[in-house]
Symmetry: C4
Subunit: 369 residues, 4 copies
């Protein structure tokens, strides 16, 4: 990014959003059938480079199984409704139907009414393991010290530590801060951690031993971090910066390849394509999956920021439902707006620019404007 | 285009859309009557530098004749309804009237229900030839190997190979890829080929022996390639880049002038003017012609991407009808919005900036902002 | 303006609109009462640096008198309704009330039905002279050779030659082109001529002996030149460029100061302020005056482009009426949107930035963004 | 700011608004509980770095007490309704309910009907002093010479001289201009003065001996200075420029730290965060406080520009009410849009970027785009 003077001595880098960039087909094309979208992290291979975001509107024990069978990884938020309630089905229905002006307050009530139950967390992981799928669960940075060992011991294959911002050097006055490096070293499961948005922040997270870092702070349709906190991530630039950290850390570590996972702003297949073009290895998906008719959110979509008791920074949105998870991922599409057949769209984009795998596609030519 | 850092090591070129640029009158003016808009490609001269896009909403065997008599070239898509149905009149009416939420799916059904019929293709070309007009037909890159020889043998004067992206080096796992250079050399008709959007892609297409290249990927009002594939073409910059390839190839080939044909984003006469200002030799027109009261689309407009069976990337749009083809092209205009008398508008733009022919007009001064 | 590459070898200058710039108050302020907005051109002094545009919606023989009494110059278009009809009052009422979808066509009919009548033109000038005001009349470039001597002989104090673009070097196949320099030399009245938008065009117009040049091509609320012709003028940059031509011509001519008159995009008092800040000596006003309750347009507003028989490039707009000409110019204002008390706003803007006359105010600090 | 050529020899600086910038979390995070938002000016310490703007919709003698108890400074405009009317309660209710098209004119009437009453001003200050709070009152630059000594003598702890633009070198033809430096020296209370928007203007105000300068010209939701006067302040750049003046004046004066107070464009907590990130020491708040259910404006909001008798430059707006002053400042929030718990949002933003006090937070990394 170029550095620009805001005024006085204050300088800032110029970042670009997905909307501002595009990929540019050039001299070579290819058949979509000859394109691979396969991805693997640690010992786990996937046909699709997508991860379902740990949001109650997307991932339940049931939908995790459906999504896994369709070729991708799903992440259950163990601090969500399934970690608090034995059967949250009725609450999910209520959330989808509540009037917009009452939604934030009612979300706060629902999540505050039942604390996270470690026994329930262990039980959820057992349900997922019984289904025979790769089990990924998410915890917040605040609860990591307590919950991450629980979920690792319960047999989670991957642990995702996901918050608005997660840093390698958290400062706290209340007791000892979490030493993320030691913690990851001690944990019995590979860790994906984030969000982050800069080269420096990503490099420090990579040095903790994480298998993957999340770029961005989640959410677009559902997040209001910009209005509330003044935080905004120009996703195209952030991914490209973190990809540069991946390359430098690969050299520094003598060969550890830390996966760069785009997390936020991926509402259309075109955005997902651009994330890979900027250097992502995988994409954590939110609203595009919440549109599925078999998503647990019943057409509603919200993240963990939306139920914060004192400072909510997201909304319960209602999305137009487009088709089943299977149709959203693999088509056929009957919507020409980037919300269906996203795997097919990614393959077509790779084919139309002549690339046959995702790693190569990170070199695709791009245009601004 | 200037090269800008997106982030890390990822760079992109800054491209400009028609909306961002304008022509700037300067020290000389001229009478519109003293201005020529004539254009010729291969042995075919035209009074107007416009080509009707191969879309069922614009070109039928009948409308091709009307448009030819008005001074321009029309391209029939032989893979469209007229190559699939003996008489698609009722289907055209149905498409124009179907509700918006069902449109994509019904388009998919209509085009899937009847495969392209080579006999019908031959018959359509005979109808056009009987009308005594210059016959141009379009085929998709996928069908080129099979259909292009058929249409050339049937007597087509010009063959247009048009797809989202067409490259000189297509890679396929299914059998031998089409060697475009050999193919064009063997074919008995001059070929126009595209879309492309970069200097490199255009240069390679020019080297295949094409008589003209299409710049852009078609469509604006009707295309959603940006949402679905992440592909977007800043048309003003793309045309200027391809015009540079034309100049370099002219030198490299010792005198072959390959025509640069703008294809996409030309919804108003002002956009068409800017395309020539950026270096185009001709303009392939879509929505502006679909607005004609005698267009076969009956006020509806859609392209080949809209009926793709798995990944549609365009919509069936409904446009306000403005006047007959004759009025759209030659006026008089009763709409002050750039949708009527587009030939008059082009002449007026050339006159007001002091140029007398299209080749000179490519040098007109422009402004950004 | 900075020069930017659009693509290939095509370059363009980056221009700025009024919306993109603003004036920046700095270390000195002043009482509005101590500020002068006086302006004079040739032998004619005015309290206000405003010229009413030659549009039938603004200037009639009656309103010209009202505007003059309020301190400004008004320009009658002798090719408008008052040069065609003995009493166009009923037509003005009809134009104001006709439905929007019929407006363009009906305007074309009304102006085509009666040709310009030279006797009527002479009579209108007599009416204006009898009122004892400075008489300015406008003619189109096409009619200049015929009408300008008529109006000069009839006693017009100032002749305005105003068209979309007026150049010093017009090329015509139909007979001898107008030699503007000789023509102005021979004419018995000072001439204001335009529009133009570049340094070069302005410099050439200045060399014809004009007393003032119009910058811009008129209209904003009413013009669609951008949609139809691809012509657009970033007004802030155009004025600054033409002001540079004024300075260079002043030197080249050994002291002739040619007035730079902003003409277009001046819909709010804030825009007018910015025009002076960019270097204008006076401002030709359109829509802001058409809002007056005593304007002849009765709340409607249109320019000469709107009634072009073949290629109309403007619309009949309806504006919210804000107050009388006196209130629009001198207040008091009861609208906080820049449509009333525009002289007061200009004085306040000059005072708040510490300047006491218009020539000094051209040096005011500005900001982009 | 970078300097850019508008055209000719006219140059302008490129400024950035809050919308164009954001803060960028990096490698360190912190607990919100470990963050301090305390601020002090002169001898007066506050838990929150917020100042209620001197607007009748926000500050009454009663609400000043509420806001003070919540930890911030409130400024009473002694030229507002409380300085003109014994009990303006009914007028406040009328203003909130009057129809939008009559609002400006009725405001003009209400404020014109009763002149500022010095006795009432003294009485208001007594009321505030009796409440035991830090007493800040605002006067306009025009009334400063007369009113400022009155309020200082009456015991105001802080005097705010606030106008659209206030300069250290005001020129007037009507008698001697106010010598701001001498005036402040003579006054028995520290002075906050503004608005200003440039380095030079701020530096000169600092040299008058002011304890703080206001950056910006107030208002966003309520101001139309851009439309009317052509004046616009890109707030992010202006604050950064004035912060540079603070640093240079600190050196020049051998240690006087003049507080930089952002005043304008602070409608969401995210904007407030950005103001501090750009270098502000405190933020003067308008609309965000007017949203409080216990604000005197009853949901309506307007500034002093809105009742100007000849040239109003602001509107009476109606805002959605979000909660009590206590909830707006300290939460809990039930709105995810930056209008509630603004102190919590500021603390969270500081924590998420790893800073523990406001002075340090001025160094936070920012991004443009």
């Amino acid at each position: 990014m170029d550095t620009i003077e805001i005024g006085g001595t204050k300088r800032a880098r110029r970042g670009y959003t997905f909307d501002e960039v595009a990929i540019a087909p050039s001299r070579r094309t290819r058949d979509p059938q000859g394109v691979s979208t396969s991805w693997n992290i640690d010992a786990y291979p996937f046909k699709l480079p997508f991860i379902a975001a740990p949001m109650d509107s997307i991932v339940s024990p049931q939908s995790a199984q459906v999504l896994s069978e369709l070729g991708m990884l799903a992440t259950l938020n163990v601090e969500g409704l399934w970690g608090r309630y034995e059967d949250p089905t009725a609450l999910l229905a209520e959330i989808a139907s509540m009037p917009v002006d009452r939604a934030t307050q009612r979300l706060q009530e629902i999540y505050a009414a039942a604390p996270v139950n470690p026994d329930l967390v262990v039980q959820r992981i057992a349900e997922l393991k019984n289904a025979g799928i790769t089990v990924a669960v998410a915890v917040s940075p605040q609860a990591t010290a307590v919950l991450a060992p629980v979920v690792a011991k319960a047999g989670a294959d991957l642990v995702v530590i996901r918050g608005t911002t997660v840093s390698a050097e958290h400062v706290t006055a209340a007791g000892e801060p979490l030493n993320l490096k030691q913690f990851i070293y001690d944990l019995d499961a590979p860790v994906i951690v984030g969000g982050c948005a800069t080269y420096q922040a990503a490099l420090h997270l990579m040095r903790t031993g994480a298998a993957g870092v999340l770029v961005g702070f989640g959410g677009t349709s559902d997040s209001t971090s910009s209005d509330v906190l003044g935080v905004r991530v120009p996703m195209a630039s952030a991914i490209a910066d973190v990809a540069a950290a991946r390359r430098d850390y690969l050299d520094e570590s003598g060969g550890r390849y830390v996966h760069v996972i785009a997390d936020g702003g991926l509402g259309r297949s075109g955005d997902i394509v651009k994330a890979f073009a900027c250097g992502a290895d995988a994409a954590m998906l939110g609203s595009v999956l919440a549109r599925a008719t078999d998503a647990p959110g019943n057409g509603a979509h919200w993240g963990a920021e939306a139920w914060h008791p004192h400072l909510p920074r997201g909304k319960r949105n209602t999305l137009e439902q487009s088709g089943t998870f299977a149709e959203v991922l693999h088509g056929p599409s009957v919507q020409a707006d980037g919300t269906m057949n996203i795997a097919g769209a990614l393959r077509k984009a790779m084919a139309t620019t002549g690339y046959s795998d995702l790693k190569e596609f990170q070199r695709v030519e791009m245009v601004i404007g």
